[in-house]
């Protein structure tokens, strides 16, 4: 079994969720790397696009922001914000979009907070805010979220609900008037999680090699079903080779 870092495993665990032909919305950092890995390993016909309007960027170098000039080079279309968000809200294209996100807090229904910790009006910690995250989470067919597995991040109640997941579970998302679609997967430094088809509650789908379900539950602020979990397959030599040599040779993201 090859050597690999936790970050490499996380990246590949998310990349494996992307199907060939998906339109992949991503930010920067590990979410971009997962999209690049998917395109280079599992989903050659997937199209990566950025909220800034860049479609199918070549990405010879890793961009450090979604407005990095590196996303503008050798695209199929250089558009604008209005175009890119319309593509996600559009009823023909939106359902085929997979959004890869991150956040400061997540709850058991996959709702995300990237705005404030503490009281919104007197925040203990202020973050960047939604950006396009709320739009993506509102519009697209599937979202995958990267998180660090910590109690303060997996919380019973968000301090601020920035991006809608399954809201209060069950059919509450539909009742709120949001399009079909929503969170399908959460990938952390310990595990992968999904959401129950009917209750929409988070449950454990996979634990990383060497990690037990108990370790995982000890690191989160709410309980979840672990009965359906299997060990996550470690990266293959091929996956690692492509990830390291094609996606991030400078290890700007892999570190």
């Amino acid at each position: 079994m090859p050597d690999y870092t936790l970050k490499e495993l996380m990246t590949l665990a998310a990349a494996r969720e992307i199907k060939d032909g998906d339109i992949v919305f991503c930010g920067t950092g590990i979410s971009l790397l997962a999209a690049m890995a998917a395109k280079n390993i599992f989903a050659p016909n997937s199209v990566i696009f950025f909220e800034t309007g860049a479609i199918d960027s070549l990405l010879e170098e890793v961009p450090l922001a979604v407005a990095d000039p590196r996303v503008m080079f050798w695209t199929s279309v250089n558009g604008n914000l209005a175009d890119s968000f319309a593509t996600m809200q559009n009823r023909m294209t939106g359902p085929s979009v997979v959004g890869i996100m991150g956040a400061a807090q997540i709850d058991k229904f996959g709702n995300l907070n990237s705005t404030t910790i503490g009281d919104y009006f007197k925040p203990r910690t202020r973050f960047s805010g939604s950006g396009g995250a709320c739009d993506v989470a509102s519009f697209v067919g599937k979202t995958i979220t990267f998180m660090q597995h910590e109690k303060r991040k997996f919380v019973p109640k968000l301090d601020y609900l920035t991006s809608p997941g399954w809201l209060d579970g069950g059919d509450s998302r539909k009742k709120a008037g949001l399009p079909d679609g929503g969170p399908v997967s959460v990938v952390t430094n310990m595990a992968t999680m999904g959401f129950d088809e009917t209750t929409k509650e988070m449950y454990l789908t996979g634990f990383f090699p060497g990690i037990t379900p108990k370790n995982i539950l000890d690191n989160m602020g709410f309980d979840m079903d672990v009965s359906r979990a299997k060990e996550v397959a470690p990266p293959t030599d091929f996956e690692l080779k492509i990830l390291r040599e094609k996606c991030d040779p400078q290890r700007l993201i892999l570190g």
């Binding site: 990095d68 000039p69 209005a82 805010g129 939604s130 950006g131 739009d135 709120a176 949001l178």
Partner: protein
């Protein structure tokens, strides 16, 4: 709205004429790309204050304006500078200190609000943010809104689809138009009449320009009208939308300008260090902003050698192999 045939002027004159304390202003660009930094620094030097600022995802320009105390209210979707500051530092401090009032929207919502202003309608609809705190929590209270003619009475409105089941869309969020006093954008090419050509992604600069009473354009290259007319499919903003054209090479520095120069990792990393604490930040402002006569002064201080490292490679439009750690 201005039809003069020569709108070229100095940045100082343009800012004196169109940017005033208490004005409602929007700036173009996105995070670390094409922020109108020369104009931002000029506004800071002129100590213009109490600005009501609109932006979608800036970024470095927003953080410098906040850090220098120019901004009292901010309507924004995302205040970050990518890897160099996932959350803008002076923004974060100002919000946590309660010295800046923020109204949070999503990126698409801010784009739609600029677009509504550009289209001349009071709102546009979207399905974004239903069921979230973007709908529930208003940074500007109802009272603050009712007392200020410049603010819509509602942050946004959730309505049932007036066309029933048409479009399988039961509910919508209506976001109010933005019509600001002035918009500042930095572009690759403009002519003296004000026609603009941006290269690469345009972000929401076109909508931001068209929703404003006045528009200041700073440009890398001031070209002849004939140059732009020969390939007018590539021009985005008509001259009559623009009030002032200022030729400022490196006018987006330290943010990037596609096909001209990259963002400057060295400057942005150094800025982060200064921004972390009050004393160093005062030093930063003194040494890099107030101490400069103009943008040229900053570029000279940074030095040709450092600017050469971010020079765009003609094939890709950015600085290939630039050390970005």
């Amino acid at each position: 709205m201005n039809i003069s045939k020569d709108k070229t002027t100095s940045l100082s004159e343009a800012v004196d004429k169109f940017v005033h304390s208490g004005c409602h202003m929007s700036i173009g660009g996105f995070t670390i790309n094409r922020n109108p930094m020369a104009a931002v620094y000029e506004i800071i030097r002129k100590k213009i204050s109490n600005i009501h600022l609109y932006a979608h995802s800036n970024g470095h320009g927003v953080d410098e304006l906040i850090g220098a105390g120019c901004v009292s209210r901010l309507e924004i979707a995302y205040a970050g500078s990518g890897r160099f500051a996932p959350t803008c530092i002076r923004f974060k401090k100002a919000v946590q200190a309660g010295t800046l009032v923020v109204e949070d929207y999503s990126n698409y919502q801010m784009t739609l609000r600029f677009m509504a202003g550009a289209m001349g309608v009071p709102f546009l609809p979207t399905r974004s943010s239903l069921g979230t705190d973007i709908v529930e929590k208003w940074g500007f209270s109802e009272q603050m809104r009712s007392e200020d003619q410049r603010l819509p009475d509602q942050k946004l409105l959730v309505i049932d689809n007036p066309f029933g089941s048409w479009g399988d869309t039961p509910k919508l969020v209506l976001v109010p138009a933005i019509n600001c006093d002035v918009t500042l954008i930095h572009v690759q090419k403009a002519d003296r009449e004000g026609t603009v050509r941006m290269e690469g992604l345009t972000f929401s600069d076109v909508e931001q320009a068209k929703c404003a009473k006045h528009v200041i354009v700073t440009c890398e290259e001031l070209v002849e009208p004939e140059f732009l007319k020969a390939f007018s499919d590539q021009n985005q903003i008509p001259s009559f939308c623009v009030d002032a054209v200022v030729h400022i090479p490196h006018g987006a520095y330290p943010t990037a300008c596609y096909r001209y120069y990259d963002y400057d990792p060295a400057y942005l990393n150094q800025y982060r260090k200064y921004a972390e604490d009050e004393k160093p930040y005062e030093t930063y402002l003194k040494d890099f902003v107030y101490g400069m006569k103009d943008h040229r002064g900053l570029l000279d201080k940074v030095g040709r050698a450092q600017l050469d490292t971010i020079k765009a490679d003609p094939r890709t439009g950015y600085a290939v192999g630039l050390d970005r750690r």
